[in-house]
Amino acid sequence: MEIISKFLEKNGIVFTFLVVSLIIYFSELISVKATNKKIPGSAIAIIIGLLLAYFGGVATGGEKGIADIKIFSGFGVLGGSMFRDFAIVSTAMGASFIVIKRTGWAGVISLFLGITLSFIGGALIALLWGYHDAISLTTIGAGACTYIVGPVTGAAIGASSDVIALSIAAGVVKAVFVTIGTPFIAKYIGLNNPHTAMVYGGLMGTTSGVSAGLAATDPTLVPYGALTATFYTGLGCLFCPSLLFIMMKIVFAD
């Protein structure tokens, strides 16, 4: 047993290829046999991934899902930001530059609107939960943008560590919710064309959520959504601790 687990640890990525291919095989099987292709196999595979992440987190108490279990540590490499971004860039091969140029300005508007609306939404929930100081409200609002904007903002404006932890949690919930929700809401919001995908990416902003959600909806939309989403976290880190924080200080001056 020990020989096997040591071997799997040492050959993490290759073992991950094997496990992921099995996950996808069984997901396709479930998709065809149990849902008559109504739920795409990739959506099922992603949900299985999230379930594995949950069990990994419960079993080890770590933060990296199943990658915290030693023999599955290869998941952390294959699913890490380097391979993810590398693969996202490669999807641009199928994208149309003309469409991107035409929808560009709508993408920009959706980015600003997405950051502002998410921020206000998150801050509003925090307000209902009894937070009244500008620092905590801003940090939780920033967390509602993405789980990176939250802690970056919190650290910049001096939030307490429990508020920062809350902001990360809000961002992770958002990423998971967008991942699972996208394929199901797609038809109700007309998410079936590159234009809407670019607007969607800008509004949601969570790169992991948008890219996984669109993959499960329609893989040809991935490059468009990912293109705008990739600007979101950076812009959020720019606006939350500055402009939006100043506005919160004016509204919640004590």
Partner: protein, 122 residues
């Protein structure tokens, strides 16, 4: 050769990401701003240019297409490494603070998509 395709992709990735890092530095934030986006645009432009010049053969193209086919498996591995336990166990407030903003944004999508589409016919 396949490696040329992978190399082109890697070139776009490296240049785009470094550009994103510098933009982050320039506007004073501790994050990469649009690195992946710049890399994607660069790849589209280079791909276009190579096609026009007829430098792109199928095996070079395969080096890039392989990675776009690997995209979903990578996303599955990514979801398996998310901190789902925190998302589930962080209490009702964090869950609402994550979900409510998404719902607000979803509500404005049809509106935004409409104005972005009506402008393309002009």
């Amino acid at each position: 050769m396949i490696i040329y395709g992978v190399g082109i992709l890697a070139f776009c990735y490296v240049v785009g990401q470094i550009f994103g890092e510098f933009i982050g530095k320039l506007i004073g934030v501790d994050a990469n701003v649009g690195g992946v986006g710049f890399a994607m645009i660069l790849l589209i432009l280079i791909n276009d240019w190579l096609k026009k010049k007829n430098y792109l053969d199928t095996s070079t193209e395969k080096g890039i297409l392989f990675w776009s086919q690997m995209y979903i498996p990578i996303v599955v591995a990514m979801s398996a490494t998310q901190n789902v336990k925190v998302a589930v166990s962080s209490g009702f407030m964090a869950i609402l603070a994550g979900i409510v903003p998404v719902l607000i944004c979803i509500a404005v999508i049809p509106f935004l998509a409409k104005i972005s589409k009506s402008s393309q016919i002009d």
